[in-house]
Structure formats: C-alpha cells, structure tokens
C-alpha cells in the first residue's frame, strides 16, 4: 500500500518534471501497472488492513476493480485526444489524471473517516487542474465554481466529522475509524449523529453528484475533456458513494439509522426529479449525460435508503452505471469530432457518418435507460421490488413517473443524433475504430452484469453489504 502511494507520487513528479509526451505515455503505463498490482494485492489480502488506515474490504475491492476498468480506456482516450486535437499541457493533464486516480484509491481503501476526507480534498485539487485544461472562459467559470462549492462542501463535511469526533473524544481507539465509530455511535447522542450525517451528506454530495450540491458536477462535466468527464461521472461519483455508504453503515445500528435512510431517500428522489426536469430541457450532449448521472446517483441513494436487498441493487447499479457512462462519455468525443458541436439539435444522421460509433450510442442509450439485458435493469427491478415489499407506494409512483420522463428525454435526444437531419456540416474527421472497440468492451461489461448470478463478484457485493 505504501509502495503504491510512493510510486504514484514519484510518477506524478516525473511527469511534471520530464514534460515529454512519450515519457508521459511510459509513466502512465507504469502507473496502470502499479494500479493493477495493487488490485491483485487487494484480492490476495482480502479483509486485511495495511498501514493502519487502509483495508481491502469488499467495497474497496469492487471500486478498485472498476477503477482499473475505466482508468485504462481513460488514459488511451486521453492520449488520443491530446495528441490529435489539443497539444496543450499534456504533462499537467496526465499528472492531474494520475493524481486524481491516486487520491481516489485513498478514498476507496481508507478505513477511517478523516483519512477519507483528506483524500477527498485531494481529489478536488487534482480534478480542478483537469477541468481547467482548455484555459477558456467557460473552463475558468466551471473550475472556479467547482473549487468554491467543493470547498464549502468539504468544510461542511469536516464540520460533520467534528460532530462525530465529539462522540469519540475519550475513546482509546484510532480516531474516527469506521469500526470504532460503529461501536461508539450506538450509544451516542442521536442529535449529534443526525447533525453529523446532514453535514457530511451535504458535503460529500458534491462528489457523488447528488442533491443538494449536484450543480458543480454538472458544470464540471460539461467543460472537462470527455475522458475526464468519464472519470468524474464514474470513478469520482463512486468515491462519493463510498463515503456516504460508509457513513450510513456507521449509523445503521443506531437509533437514527432509519432517519438517515429516509434523508437519503429524500435526497435521492429530489435528485431524480431535478435530473428529469433538466434532461427534458437540456440541448447539450455532455450536460445530458451529466444529468443522467444525477438521475442514477439519485436511484442509488434511494436504494441505499430502502436498505436490505436494495443495497445489493445499489452496488449492481454502481457497477453497470460505471461501464455504461464511461463508454458514453468516451463516445461523446467522437460525436463531437463528427459534428464539431455538443448541441444535440444541430446533430443528426450519425448512423450514416460513423455507424460503429452510432451503435455504441444506441447500445449505451438502451443500457442507461435500463433496457434488458442492461445491468441497470436488474438493479432497478430489484429496487422497485424492495420498495413495493416495504409498501412505499407514493415513492414508487413518483419514481416511476419521473423515470419515464428521464427515459423519454434520453431516448428521444440520443436517438435524434443517430437519425435526425443534421443542421451542421459534418467535419469529415477520421475517427479511430480502436477507440470505439474499447467502448464496445465497456458496454459489453455493463450487459454482462445482467447475467451475474453467483461467483466472485457476487460474493464481494454480499460481503460489502453485510
């Protein structure tokens, strides 16, 4: 574990000091190797704690595996994007991406709320560099908003952690470890736990792209280079999910457990409603996908709140969403190359211009609206079943209606890119088939989730929700 962080920091340092594109490629390859080695080690030492603050538990291993699956295509797409379209700041971009992934590893693996918070803070720093990559006025605006709102979120989350800190001030345990907190929270003042939960939820909702602090994520996704949007909409929101899920686990056995679940359900349903409203309105392809992330994270929050088998569905949803959203964001860049715009109303006939990419868009659309055999179908069905089993009729009705709006908006807009008549002249840019092949692979993985019955992944999920 220590080696992973040392090697990663050294690699980032080398990227920034050598500043040659070829060196960046080699160093990125080394980082990926480092990441895979960590994953192998995590599998081999499942359940073990290292350096006192990091544990290879089920949740951590699932998130780490997803990271490897998205990070490799993210680097490939990034290099293609940087060398073919923008020669600006390759070393800073690649160093920023490597730093972001390293920070996220810390978020996933930490077994302590303070350590998680420190790494979360580091993600804000590294991702800001990436959002500002284009150095345009829009990029400046998105970066400023991201830094400002994330910093307020981080400060609020810290306030929440301080409230939790008050209940452990006299314990001899390692300060604020999840296990220690679980034990102490059971006998803690409920008012403190409630306030701590609210502060931390609001604070980390910037990262999970969940109501109420979802707006900055939307703007950042719109402006960041597409491979970075892919990482933010998947691995970064997964980081926020891990933080909120760990906190929920701490509160589960306490008197405020049910209350916290209800707050999450409220936050989730509001996220889905807001997402539906803007999905119907949005005309920007990247914003459309960003709002779709908000919708899916809302569903995950609802699943976490419902509890029981729905928590299993939350993990399935996170896994399938990661593959699908990454593939779609990667494909977005090729769409942009074809039409030189992100405005949906100007695009059309993509199936004639680049049928391989159009198929990715079509399969991705079906997948993201949970059409079988998408992995999201399994998760959403399970969430609905759990909802009905608990007789939450109002929630069920509202959610179904709002999701129908989301499905309509996404299908109508994404399919119009394929079949409508374009109003802009296609650029004739020669698109890379190998990049599209990588996107097929990700979509295939999302569909493969549908067929999960048992096996290693299921065991990991069961372990994570135990």
């Amino acid at each position: 574990m220590l080696y992973f962080f040392i090697i990663s920091v050294v690699l980032v340092g080398l990227m920034l000091s050598i500043r040659k594109p070829l060196a960046c490629k080699v160093l990125s390859g080394l980082f990926i190797t480092n990441l895979i080695a960590l994953l192998v080690r995590a599998y081999a030492s499942k359940g073990q704690t290292e350096l006192a603050y990091f544990t290879f538990d089920g949740t951590a291993i699932i998130m780490l595996s997803l990271m490897v699956a998205v990070a490799i295509p993210a680097y490939i797409h990034s290099f293609y994007y940087l060398t073919h379209e923008s020669d600006r700041g390759i070393p800073l971009y690649i160093a920023g991406l490597t730093g972001l992934l390293t920070s996220l590893v810390g978020v996933y693996l930490s077994n302590n709320l303070i350590v998680l918070w420190v790494f979360m803070e580091a993600t804000t720093l590294t991702v800001s560099v990436l959002i500002y990559h284009h150095r345009s006025t829009h990029a400046l605006e998105a970066t400023w908003k991201y830094i400002f709102v994330s910093s307020i979120g981080i400060a609020l989350a810290y306030m929440g952690i301080l409230f939790l800190g008050t209940i452990v001030s006299n314990s001899g345990d390692i300060p604020l470890s999840y296990k220690g907190l679980e034990v102490l929270a059971a006998s803690a003042n409920p008012a403190y736990l409630r306030i701590a939960f609210l502060f931390i939820l609001v604070g980390f909702s910037t990262k999970m792209e969940l109501f109420p602090m979802h707006t900055v994520g939307i703007d950042a996704n719109t402006i960041a280079p597409p491979p970075i949007s892919a990482v933010m909409s998947t691995l970064m929101v997964n980081g926020g999910f891990v933080a909120i899920y760990r906190l929920l686990n701490i509160l589960d056995g306490t008197i405020v457990g049910q209350w916290a679940s209800n707050v999450l359900i409220l936050s989730g349903i509001l996220s889905v409603i807001i997402a539906a409203t803007y999905l119907l309105k949005s005309n920007n392809l990247k914003r459309l996908l960003a709002y779709s992330t908000l919708e899916n994270m809302g569903l995950v929050a609802i699943a976490l709140g419902i509890g029981g088998v729905a928590r299993y569905a939350a993990f399935i949803h996170i896994i399938a969403h990661t593959f699908l959203k990454a593939a779609l964001f990667f494909q977005v860049r090729q769409v942009r190359n074809t039409f030189d715009t992100y405005e949906i109303s100007k695009m059309g006939g993509y199936i004639r211009h680049y049928s391989a990419g159009a198929l990715v868009l079509m399969l991705g659309t079906l997948g993201i609206v949970a059409f079988p055999p998408s992995g999201l179908f399994v998760s959403e069905l399970t969430i609905f079943k759990a909802m009905l089993a608990q007789e939450r009729w109002i929630l069920f009705t509202v959610l179904v209606l709002v999701l129908l709006c989301c499905v309509y908006a996404i299908v109508q807009k994404l399919l119009s890119i394929l079949y409508a008549k374009e109003t802009v002249k296609p650029t004739g840019f020669k698109l890379s088939m190998s990049l599209t092949a990588v996107q097929y692979l990700l979509i295939g993985l999302a569909f493969y989730v549908f067929f999960f019955k048992d096996g290693f992944v299921m065991n990991l999920i069961n372990e994570a929700i135990k």
Binding site: K145, I147, S151, L162, T166, S169, P175, N189
Partner: protein, 210 residues
Amino acid sequence: MNLAIIVLFGVTLMYISIAERFATYLKLVALQGVLLFFLAFSELSGANDLASLIFVVAETLIFKAIAVPVLLRNIVKKMKVAKVHAKAVPAFYSLLLVLVAMGVSVVLGDMLKIGNIEKIFMITALFAVFTGLILVITHKKIFPHLVGFLVLENGVFMFSLAVGSEMPFLVNVGILLDLFASVLILGVFASRIGKRLNDPDVEDLSSLKD
C-alpha cells in the same frame, strides 16, 4: 479571557453581515484571524503536546492573521470598485437573517450540549458557519463570496479548537483544510478570475446553463 475573545468574534460576525466596503471586509477578516490566534493559544496552551501547540498557533498567526488578509488586500487593490453596490438582498434583511441565524445557533448550541465543550464555543462556531453561508447567498459580487467562505471556515476552525483540546489530530486536519482552501481559492481568484474580471459579479460567471 476566552469569553471576551469569543464575544468579540461574534460582534465581527454581526458587523461583517452589514458591511459594504471591501476594505471593511478585509479588516474584519484580519481581526477574526488575530482573535482566533489568541483563542488557539489560550485553548491549547494547557495541552501536553508542545509541537502541536506551536503548529496550530503558528498556522493561525501566519495564515489567518497575516497571509489571508494580505492576499485579500492584493485582490481589493486590483479591483476598480471598493464597495458592494449590488446586493441580492438589502442590508437590513441580511442583518435580519444573521439575527435569525444567531437565534438558531443559540437554540442548537443549547440542544447539543456536551459535557466537555463550552456552550459559547459551539454557539459562536455555528453562528460563524451560518453567517458565512448567508454572506455567500445574499451577495452578487464574488469578493463577498470569498469572505463568506473564509468566515465559514473560521467557524469550522473555532469548533475544531473546542473539540480539539482533546483531539489535536482533528485540529491539524482542520489546518489542512485552511491551507488547502485559502491557497487554492484565493490563489485561483487572484491569479485567474481577478485578472480577467475587474469587478466580478456572479452574473459574469453564469454562462454555463441549460
């Protein structure tokens, strides 16, 4: 002594909510930094860990009382205007909001009594957090937003001091937040936004929408 510092800190919060001149914001933030320095010193001077005491006290002095006000002064100097002339909410209402926030802080502070944390600490810290958020919400200019964030952060730091007399680890992490946010936010503002926009309104940063 502590009580006097905390009450004075509370007064700066009331004042900052109705201030309109950028120079006043600057002075009040600097004053809050100095007050927090004295508070940190008196709160942690009884602790056994000398290294931690030196670290915390030096941080409050160097960053909160010196570096942040100097950075803010540089930003104010670069701006062409010296006063908030377009508020989202009139001063009277922001004062009213701040008074409500104070009431809420008192009620919450009373509700959330913990044996080893002084109630007045909790009330003032919560009051600072709310005042910071109110400053962000009620202003259209970005500079008061910055000040609002710094006030919010001061509130968080004050609370960490109250908890931290027993857990210095938490105070040190709070300092990390300080360094991170002050340097990053003020740095970005001073080096990028301030250069492009002499008198930035939030409207100037609202091109990203549906």
